[in-house]
Symmetry: C3
Subunit: 347 residues, 3 copies
């Protein structure tokens, strides 16, 4: 594959745009407002259309209908946002071949290593781990015993994988993520907590992204399972024995309690709490900071909480919230009285 | 102590079940549905009783009343869940003696080291630290100066202890946990924040579990204190000078602001927020995602928030929430009018 | 600068108190209740005034009005809390000159290093990084390629900076913080997520504090920007392309979605969620666990949620919340009926 910079003609071909004949060089990507003449830009949404006239980008990804609004070179594609996503891979500077294994890495002689690896300084790989070809592991990450990491998966610096965790191919795991720590399992014996050692592990599918500081606990007996193509943002908590279906997307700071089963193609916003041992249907959408305390058996959009308001007004309303059941009874009582007194009377 | 596998007779003895005479070997634990003939299972709750008939486990922990429902060998115990918890310790594969100190660990010559240690590669132990016998420290963890770690405590990989943190005996600290970082203390001087250096530390009792990514800040002047037997799940935030009583359990993603005092034997669910400088009575239970903004002086169960509903319905209700005080006044007004017009009239 | 211990006279001078002539030695700081005779204390708020009479501190920072209530030596200052904050810097034991570079650090030969550095064991500094003079980097931290770190910034152990992150001078970054991980950007292509590689970076101003486990994502195209003097507590999530204005303070576990613009001098409490692509005015205050789903164009205090109540009572009220729109309509209906029947009647 060609490397940056690209000519506009090359980009048109790489991004499956209508062919363009131009040797103008493109070195990066910018927004419509910030892009310079050697950058590519894109029109994602009609509401930014007015920015096209002043855009200085050397080339702009647009739908056919906006072709004539581009002052520079229009790259006409079916979906400019998807073309933009593909373009970012061309300019992100990821090395395409392994840059080798740091002499300061600590790798067990019983680990099995694939080809074309990039393993940073102070990485620790324990006994029996299997590292697929093309894998990158950032500095100071720790790979526990008997872990299996699929091909071309990229693990950033300071990641921790406990023992026997299995990651699929082409995953991305960000710094501070912890996969396979003990699930929160304890039995209460007359007030004291007896630890339930967590004997399962974690299985992560292919093309999964796990954000910075996200924690995925190992299962109690069976495994915690994350499907293919799942994308998890930062600081998400995935409890033991949770099952997340393929291509589900979860935003930052969401917490999922143990044994919850989340369907495929769900989108779960940030700060959501999902109770344990429930089921969420495929294709469900949950809005930010919702508490999901019951199963969702039919897909839809679900919410809880209240919306922001000025504090003084909010204070008056929350006091009333605590009287809401009583208020409801008073209204019922009024309705009864009014009904009695109006029956038989002319309106 | 015997090692896995165990005969069923041995397990009966180790788990204080009624004696059984069987050389059948058990190599692990499974659920009623997944256990194989060389695994142990358990009946925790009557609602899974119907699974006993098809269970293939080699032995099943049950109460006496279910003895005859087991198709394999029944191990009769007083509390199957507690027996299961104890059984997990037999099969978790923890090494019982120290496997030594990695030559790639960086240990200050002024650190005091106990016997039977397991210290991983790239562990850094600073000046004056005291490491009790039987302690395990995972790869790439950092132990600050003058820390004291009690006997048999296990610290996973990539844990950070700042200076002068004291951990009791038999604790478990998971990866990504940070203990002893500065509390969030600043004085505002005409709009600029002046840092209040945090001169206290953190004291953690015996048999405490601290989850992955959980942070416990050091105190401003006095110490932050976590009692004996406390269990903290992942990604919990414990502010400076917080005091958590013995055997309290806190689920993931709960945040506790500075100087809160939480009693003993509390159970606090996930995503709870606890405001600073308040007191929570022994034995209090807080449900998920509740905001505790006042002290709780008598134990009980406490909640806040609203419950999930379909988004369109929720939108209509939250609009009304913002009018709730007004609605309440309107009802009061109606009551007054109705009262005036119905007094003295025949019902 | 003098080192601890200090005479009371020295402290008076260093803290800009009224001059005092005393050679009494002060070795640390304590609260009014805990301070010993060789410790300094302070009266922050009138509500602790009654503790002065029994306070054993060698010296107490007070306003002039409380001068005569101090049993030991009064150090009279304009603002005792600010003087206390300054005093903590005198007793926190930070080394003032670099203690050198650990031979176990892994530093690229192309990194540019300032003077008076303190770099711990197993620190990894990648190609092209620029480390300002007086910088401290704790053990096992990783500094990505081409990062720029301003003078006197202190980075704790186990911190991760991805490539090209810029930190200003005199910042403090706590353990477990991750700066510059990929923003959560994906394009959905028929159900599959295509990664949008994040080509921007993170710019952090001067005198910024970033708490333990806090994550700040790099921008998609432009940078994520944190202004001067911003203080971020633990486990905060800052999404890509967020902009936080100077001197804004944010408490633990708050999550800020992508492209939000937060003004200067805001105070945002813990557990708050801020939606993406919105604007918050300078000087805004948000209370704990509020969901900010719309822009705030005029400063003020804002809240959402409900307040804690006993669980049984709460259960009745949340059921009514789901009927609130209906209840509101019923009240409107009652009002109409009552109005019809009372018009023209004597009151």
């Amino acid at each position: 594959m060609a490397h940056s910079p690209f000519t506009v003609s090359q980009l048109a071909s790489l991004l499956e745009a209508e062919p363009v004949d131009s040797d103008h060089l493109i070195e990066g990507i910018g927004t419509l407002q910030s892009a310079t003449e050697h950058q590519l830009s894109f029109l994602h949404s009609g509401r930014y259309q007015h920015q096209l006239s002043s855009c200085r980008a050397g080339a702009v990804l647009v739908r056919a209908e906006h072709r004539d609004d581009v002052t520079g070179i229009a790259l006409v594609v079916a979906d400019p946002y998807i073309a933009y996503a593909r373009a970012t891979a061309l300019f992100c500077g990821l090395s395409e071949t392994g840059s080798g294994i740091s002499p300061a890495a600590q790798i067990s002689p019983t680990a099995l290593l694939g080809d074309h690896l990039t393993i940073g300084a102070n990485v620790v790989i324990a006994d029996g781990a299997q590292i697929g070809s093309g894998v990158t592991i950032g500095a100071n990450s720790v790979i526990g015993s008997n872990c299996v990491i699929g091909e071309n998966t990229r693990i950033a610096a300071n990641v921790t994988l406990y023992h026997e965790v299995r990651l699929g191919a082409s995953c991305v795991i960000h710094s501070g993520a912890v996969i396979g720590a003990d699930g929160f399992g304890f039995a209460n014996n007359n007030g004291e907590w007896i630890k339930i050692h967590q004997l399962g592990s974690v299985r992560v599918g292919d093309r999964v992204e796990i954000g910075a500081g996200t924690t995925v606990d190992r299962g109690a007996l069976d495994d915690t399972v994350i499907g293919d193509g799942v994308i998890l943002d930062n600081q998400i908590q995935v409890g033991h024995n949770v099952n997340i279906g393929d291509n589900t997307a979860i935003a930052a700071c969401t917490a999922i309690a143990g044994s919850a089963r989340i369907g495929k193609n769900c989108t779960i916003a940030g700060g959501v709490g999902i109770a344990g041992h429930l089921t969420i249907a495929d294709g469900t959408h949950i809005t930010a900071m919702t508490l999901v305390s019951k199963s969702i058996l039919q897909p839809g959009v679900f919410s809880s909480g209240t919306v922001m308001e000025p504090h003084q007004q909010w204070k008056r309303n929350v006091v009333r919230f605590r009287q809401l059941d009583e208020l409801s009874r008073r209204v019922k009582c009024l309705e009864n009285i009014v009904k009695q007194h109006t029956e038989g009377q002319p309106e």
